[in-house]
Symmetry: C2
Subunit: 190 residues, 2 copies
Amino acid sequence: MKELQERILREGKNLGNGILKVDGFVNHQVDPMLMDACGKEFAKRFAALGATKVLTAEISGIAPAVSTALHLGLPVVYARKHKPITMPDQVLLTLAPSHTKGRTVELIVSPEFLGGGEKVLIIDDFLASGQTILGLVRLTEAAGSKVIGIGALIEKTFEGGREALKPMGVPIESLARICAMEDDKITFCD
Amino acid sequence: MKELQERILREGKNLGNGILKVDGFVNHQVDPMLMDACGKEFAKRFAALGATKVLTAEISGIAPAVSTALHLGLPVVYARKHKPITMPDQVLLTLAPSHTKGRTVELIVSPEFLGGGEKVLIIDDFLASGQTILGLVRLTEAAGSKVIGIGALIEKTFEGGREALKPMGVPIESLARICAMEDDKITFCD
């Protein structure tokens, strides 16, 4: 998506170690107009799949997932990283290593809001190693539901996430695919 | 706002100790259509104030704040509770006691995205004791900016937040004002 790519070129910063800082419009400050446009684009790309629920992980996945869900007219569930007191004792929980956090995080979903028989569209901010998204896939399958599509705002193709997810055989869409980050140069695949 | 009040009556659960569970449409599963309607309502109520930025706290404030910011055409910043590696060493940080978490949490904003001279509209999911919002006010003032309005989806008037914020002399708007929660009965003020 041209609008997102241009914004990354203008404001994104390569911090080294494969970390792309997009705090000015995705991860700390959010540009709601850009998120709305991204959500609309995801909704268009996944419209034909008949999703019944959007799933993401807190925190940075929330804005693009809510926007996508709005354009699809669906509820969205965000997996929590800490179990809040409002959640029942019995939950779905999986562990996912986080590269940017340098540790393993918990991903927790309440069975109240992710049950069986759902067709789940996963939306997240980044597709890098794919570990967070694989965690969301495990939660979906543990709930007795099926992932029908995966969307990420920004993909770093050199971290292998797409290859890790490919065996699932579902459409994987990213709106900005980065093939290389060297010093101050960010190179998109297309 | 009638739509939100009806949803609270239908799906909200009083867990005791003043804790209202709205995990089905605000805090874990989000109803994006309802959030959009709430954002539109906040935008209408605060339109005349000339805000330049929306500020909220992760995690549950993000959805209503992004939606409000979209309808106002403004960027939104969400205060982080843990400093991510993408944030500079020098940050704005304050502490706020969290009733639902039973401990004090950090609220962190990067000076890159909250500087001086901004007219800040604070949006959050709950106005209860007002402690989180007061933390966001301190961050705004430390940045050299001014809070010009405060909005919350749900206010629990019996926890004193409005009284704590009143001395600031800015408009405080909530879309559902709860005056009492007794067993299964939730009573709105209006």
